[in-house]
C-alpha cells in the first residue's frame, strides 16, 4: 500500500463521513487537491485491489477492507497528533502537517506502543475520536455551537475547521476544548453570537459558531 493509496482511502472515508455513500470523482479530486482524471486512475487501482466498489460514472464507496485501512490511517494520524501535543509540546495548530507524514509509518508494534505511552487516548487534540485497533470508536452526540438557542449551555468538545488560522484564533481568545460555553444572546442582524466563557463575555461571528462543536449540558 503506497502513501498515495492510503491518502485516497482516507479522503473517501472523510467525504463519506464513515458511511457507505457513493462518492463522486470530483469530490475526491477537490479533497485531494488533484485532478479528476488522476482520481479516476487511482480509483481503478483501488477497485482492482478490492478496496473500493466502483462502477463507471456511478461513484465509489469503500469496501470493508478499504474502510478498515482508512480507519487504521486515521487512528495513526490522531495518535501521532496526541503524541506531538502531549509529549513534544506542539500546539494544536502545528500537529496536522507532521501527522500527515507520520500516519504512513508502517509498524503495528509502533502504534500499539505509542497508544500505550499516551495512555490510550479516546480523542485527538481537535476533539476527533481515535479508533481503537479494531476500528471502533464512540461518536459523541455533539452539535455545532451555531445550532444552540439563547440560554443553552454546552461544553466545547471539538472543532469542525481545524485550520491553523481558526485554531490560533481560538487560542488568542482563550477558547479551549473543555470550556463551558453559554449562549447569552443571538444577533438577528448578522447571525453573530454573544457568549459567556469562563465568566468572560464574547461576541463571535456566525462563521466562528459554525465551526465549534459543543455537547449540550442542559
Amino acid at each position: 500500500m503506497t502513501h498515495s493509496e492510503e491518502n485516497y482511502l482516507k479522503a473517501i472515508f472523510h467525504i463519506g463521513k464513515g458511511g457507505v455513500n457513493d462518492i463522486s470523482t470530483n469530490a475526491i479530486a477537490e479533497q485531494m487537491e488533484t485532478k479528476p482524471s488522476s482520481v479516476t486512475d487511482m480509483i481503478k487501482k483501488l477497485s482492482e485491489k478490492n478496496l473500493v466498489n466502483y462502477k463507471k460514472y456511478k461513484g465509489v464507496s469503500l469496501t470493508d477492507a478499504g474502510k478498515s485501512t482508512a480507519l487504521s490511517i486515521i487512528r495513526k494520524h490522531r495518535l501521532w497528533e496526541v503524541f506531538l501535543v502531549e509529549k513534544l509540546d506542539f500546539s494544536w495548530d502545528e500537529v496536522h502537517e507532521v501527522a500527515e507524514q507520520l500516519e504512513h509509518i508502517k509498524s503495528e508494534k509502533l502504534i500499539d506502543k505509542l497508544d500505550k505511552l499516551l495512555d490510550f487516548p479516546k480523542y485527538d487534540p481537535h476533539g476527533d475520536p481515535i479508533p481503537d485497533k479494531n476500528g471502533n470508536f464512540k461518536v459523541i452526540d455533539k452539535k455545532l455551537l451555531s445550532e444552540l438557542s439563547v440560554n443553552d449551555k454546552g461544553i466545547c468538545v471539538g472543532v469542525k475547521d481545524s485550520s491553523s488560522q481558526f485554531l490560533k484564533f481560538l487560542d488568542k481568545n482563550k477558547i479551549a476544548l473543555g470550556d463551558v460555553i453559554e449562549v447569552t444572546d443571538k444577533e438577528d442582524f448578522d447571525g453573530s453570537f454573544q457568549l459567556k466563557i469562563n465568566a468572560n463575555s464574547f461576541n463571535v461571528s456566525n462563521q466562528i459558531a459554525s465551526n465549534l462543536f459543543v455537547q449540550i449540558t442542559e
Copy 2:
C-alpha cells in the same frame, strides 16, 4: 529531497566512513541493494543538485551540502532509535527497520523536540554517535574486541554488525553495552576468545569478537 535521494546520500556517507573518499558505483549498488545502472542514474541527479562530486568512471564523493544532508538523516535515524528503545520499550534489535522509515519525516521542530524529550542523547542503542544539529559528533577511540590481547580489559561500547541475529545473540548471552569485558585467553586453533564478563566466563568465536567494539581501560 526524496526518500530515495536521502537513502543514497546516507549510503555514500556510510561507505566512505565520513571521509571524502571516492566511492564506486558498485559499492553503492551493493549497499542499496540495487543495480549499478540505477546508481549511475541517481548519481547524475545528485550531482546536478550539487550534493555529490562526480566524474564519469571516477566514482563519487559527497559535497559539503551532501555530507550535511547525510548527517541530518543519520541524526534523525539514531534519535528515533533511542526514542523507540527508551520511550516505547522496543529492544535494540527491533528499532532499525522502523527508524529507516522515521528518518525521512520532515520537521525540524519535531526532531529538536524529540532530542529534548530524550535529554540530548550522545549515542544510539547500538553505540553509534548521534550528530548534533550542526552535524558534529565525538568519535570515541574504540577497538574491536578481536584486536585485544590476553589480559586486556575494555568496556563494551558498540557493535559493528547490528543485525537482529547478532543483537539477539548478545541478549541471549547477557552481553550489553557498558559491560566490562576481560580477555582471559585466546585460542590459536580457531581464533576464539575466552572472556570474563560480570564474573561469568564465556568462549566466543573470532567472528563474534570481530563485531564488538570496546574501549580499552588498562
